[in-house]
Every structure is written in structure tokens, then in C-alpha cells.
């Protein structure tokens, strides 16, 4: 078991060196909870990102994208490699308001849109099969299954993950009160309703206006 799972066992009162219930072969409930928490944090924060390249085909505007590692979350930015410029995000409502026949246009794409969970469209549709669209995507990391798998998670959220798993353990034991307390701890430590403050990256300046 990894460090997170050991922390959970400590919280719930198990002996980490010789656990009674959650042995290495029976760690699935704890592991499921940790994985669920990692997925939830990744979903609401978009902290884990990967770059995916889509070769554009002539006259093909929509692409259903399948990720082999992890699950596609959303696009953070799009870059047209050959033309060396970014694409703006748009949506169906804006496209139909500006030009209902947008699917007829062909040329170097200027905008992209995401439909559903795995479809990316580019507008105008590519006039030739000569470019690659690079998407910087927020990805839901794949669930880890062995002790040595990497946890794609910031250190800041590890305590929150432990609280999440402890909460589910107590819920599985029927103790709703204890479960609620640990879940509240989890909510206090994750950026559920607030973004990562990029303003924290700026150094303050002092002086006259």
C-alpha cells in the first residue's frame, strides 16, 4: 500500500504494519475512495494536464477523441502547430449566430469547440491535411491499481484525500456523523468553489499611482 493508504489506515485506527481488515490484498475499498477523490479534484480544478495532438484531415471538421491514458476532461488551450497560432474557443450558439453555414467554410482553422465529453470541432474545417492541432487538456488521471503507480496529485491535497477516504470508511460502517465530519475536512482543503489564485504568482508593488 502507498503512503496515502497508510495515512487512511492510521486515521481509521488500523495497525499499518499488520492491519486486521485492510491488508494489502484487501485494500480495494480504501483504494477506490482515494481514486474517486483524485478524480474529483482533477475534475473541478483541472490540475493535471496533458498535451494531445490531432492530425487534421481535409474537410473534416469534427473529431471524436479517445485518450489511451486517463479520461479527457476539457480543453485548456489549443495551438495550431503548422500555423503557429492559438485557436479561440467558441460554441454552437455563437457559430450559428455569426454564420449558420460555418460548416461550408474551409481553410486554416481559427476556432475550436468542444461538444459533449469527447468531440472536438474546428472552424473553418481544414482545407488540407497538413496541420496538427495541439490541445492542452485537463485530464482525469487514470485510476492507480498498484502500490508503485504514480499519484497524479499535488501535495497540498493529500490530507484532503485522506479525509475523503476516511469519510467513506465511516459511512460504510454506518457512522454518518463521523463520516460527515471527515467529509467536511475534505471540503475545507480542496479548491471546490474557488480557482487556483494566479494572482498569488504576481509580486506586489508599492509606489505612487
Amino acid at each position: 500500500m502507498n503512503d496515502l493508504e497508510k495515512d487512511v489506515l492510521i486515521i481509521i485506527g488500523e495497525n499499518v504494519d499488520s492491519p486486521d481488515v485492510f491488508t494489502s490484498s484487501n485494500i480495494t475499498p480504501i483504494r477506490d475512495s482515494v481514486n474517486d477523490a483524485i478524480e474529483e479534484i482533477a475534475m473541478v480544478s483541472g490540475l493535471y494536464r496533458e498535451r494531445y495532438s490531432i492530425p487534421l484531415y481535409q474537410d473534416q471538421a469534427f473529431y471524436r477523441v479517445k485518450f489511451t491514458r486517463g479520461i479527457f476532461g476539457f480543453v485548456v488551450s489549443a495551438w495550431l502547430r503548422g500555423n503557429k497560432r492559438p485557436l479561440d474557443q467558441t460554441d454552437i450558439i455563437k457559430l450559428t449566430a455569426e454564420n449558420p453555414r460555418f460548416l461550408r467554410q474551409a481553410g486554416p482553422p481559427r476556432e475550436y469547440l468542444q461538444i459533449g465529453m469527447d468531440v472536438i470541432g474546428v472552424v473553418p474545417k481544414p482545407g488540407s491535411s497538413s496541420d496538427i492541432l495541439e490541445l492542452d487538456c485537463a485530464v482525469i488521471p487514470e485510476r492507480y491499481s498498484s502500490d508503485d503507480d504514480r499519484l497524479k496529485l499535488r501535495e497540498t491535497f493529500k490530507k484532503a484525500i485522506v479525509s475523503y477516504a476516511a469519510s467513506e470508511y465511516y459511512a460504510s460502517r454506518g457512522d454518518a456523523k463521523e463520516a460527515s465530519m471527515h467529509y467536511k475536512d475534505y471540503l475545507d482543503h480542496v479548491p471546490f468553489f474557488k480557482d487556483y489564485k494566479e494572482s498569488a504568482e504576481y509580486t506586489p508593488r508599492v509606489g505612487n499611482k
Binding site: S53, K177, A179
Partner: protein, 356 residues
Amino acid sequence: MNISEQLTKIRRFLRDPDATIWSNELLIRIFNQVQEDLQNKVKILEDVEAIKVPPTYHQTYMHEWEWAYLDSNLSRFYRCFQQHQQAQHIYTHVWEIQHVWDIDTDVSDTGAHFTQPWEAWFLTPGEEIRIRFPRGFHELRFITYDSDPICFETKKQLMERDSQWETTSGTPLSYYRPDELDDSFCLYPRPTNSNWTDGDGLALYQNGDTNDSENGVVIRRTGTTLSSDKGLTVDIIDLANNVFMVFEENAIDLTPNLNGTNYLQESNFPKFMRKYIEYGVLAKAFRANTDGRIQSLADYWQQRFDIGVQAIKRYKLKRKSDRHYQLTTKDRSVNTRQRQHPRLPAVYPSVSHIRS
């Protein structure tokens, strides 16, 4: 993560691994309710589909009693011809009804009738050509034919405008819905071009595709896939001479064989959102009037489900973070901040202070 795995996890939290209190049937019914409820709240399920014209169907039937004998593993069924509502028989041409009532005069029919819609491209059809919406269709967001948008019209509007509405052909400009139960639509005018690639009948695939031996033709082309060394698998959706639509999906009900087999169905929610359905199931299960009713746990899991709904809404907002614009309505002022007084330097006293 199929329904079997999800039920195992749900039972772990219910502490009922042997289905002593909550049966699989109950849990799956609750599951279907919760995922529908979740979709109504967050509207996250959306899809695109290119529908081939002419449409293809798995099986054709005439009488309603045949419905029970259709293959349950298939989904696209076409009801051909018309039921004579005053009798039990099926008729093809309208003059047959007159003969049933011993009327000698024949009213002229508008064209030929068929058992499969693709036959309409070989003759002048005398009936509307129904195209099925995709499975799970709920609401349309955007629809085109051959890359040009088409609008919705009612059948009544077409009838008032065009006496030949059943047979008019050309480039489709609109669509109408014959009824809502069948989840199908008809293009108007009937498209004259089809998506066939050879002259031997109906070919719905191009080089590189493979036929489905059970269904005879490829219902939906999945397109070209890159090899693994190129890094990414894509599914290319073709738009030429097809109907293309963006639509909101329903959560598809899971109907596993409750006699112990076929628990491999999966919800159409993304895998990382299925846990929220489990929370909703747990809340309802603990609230159900059974021996396992525990109000505190029902409240706990309901709280988890509600927070999950907020998390999904948060996720939907994050998807729009790369935009440089904001959609609004004309009723809402773009400038939400209304300044009633000019901005004065901070050293000035406030206006209210001066007035007092």
C-alpha cells in the same frame, strides 16, 4: 466500470453484499432514476452524430404484435405501411380502404410504398421517409444536412404551403417530426442525393471500412484509426450528404438480465461521474421503506450527491474557461455595474457624506 462493479461498490456501503435487504432489481431501478435525475440537473450528456441518408434500419415490421418478437439486441426498427385503424389489416395504397368499404372510385395515391426507406430512392415514394434520431436522443441543439443548417417546421405548415409535400424532392431546407413517440424526423424536401458510392444498390461504406456480418451493412461508419505508433486514435465523422446533429442525450436505462447474467452494461455517463450516481442510489436506498432504512446515512449520501451536482456544474464552467466572450440575453445589461456618480479621487469625501 460496468453495472456489476458499481453494484458491488454500492452494496459495500449498504453493508448488504448478499442482497438480503435491497435486491439488484431495486437498486438498478433506483440507479436509472438517479442518473436521469442527474442528467436533468446538470445536462452534461451531449453527443454528435452523422446520420446517413437514406437511413438504415435493423428490422421492419407491420403489425404492433410483431414488436414483441423483434430482436431485443437491436434498436432500429421501421414500421412500414399503414394500419387500417377501423380494422386489423395493413394497407399499402389508400384506395384499398375504399374497396374495403365497397367504394368503386379509386383515389389516386401519390406514389409507391416500401418496406425499407432506402427503396424510396429507386422510385417516386408515396409516403414520408422517417429517419430515426440517435439512440438516447432528448433535445436537438443543432442540425444540418450536407453541412447546411436546416430549420424545424410543423407538418401543418408544410401541408398548407405545398400540396405535394409528401413527394417534393430537392435539397432539404427543413425537417418535421411525424410524432414524438417514434423519435424520428423527416426531411423536407426529400433529398435527391444519397450517400451511395456504387451502382449496385446500397453501399454504405468506403474503402477501408468493414461490413458488419450480422447487420449486412455498416450502420455507422467509425472512420479511420491511426496506428498506435502515431499516438492518438481518432474517429472521423463524415458530413457530406448526411444529416449531422448535435443533441442532448438521455441517460440510457440499464436493463441487465436480472436472472444473473449480462451485468456488463455501463452507464453512458463518463466514468469519473458515475460515483455521483452511486451516491444518489445510496441516498434513495437508505431512505426506502425497508429494514435497512437509516435516515442519517440517507442524509449523508444525499449531501454527497448534491455536492457532486455542484462539482459537475463547476466542471462545466471550467470547460468554458478558454473563452474570450460571455453569452448573455438581450434583457441583461452588459455593464452590470451601474455608476450613478462620477469616480472621484479617494481623497474626496463620499457623496452621501456631503449631502448630510
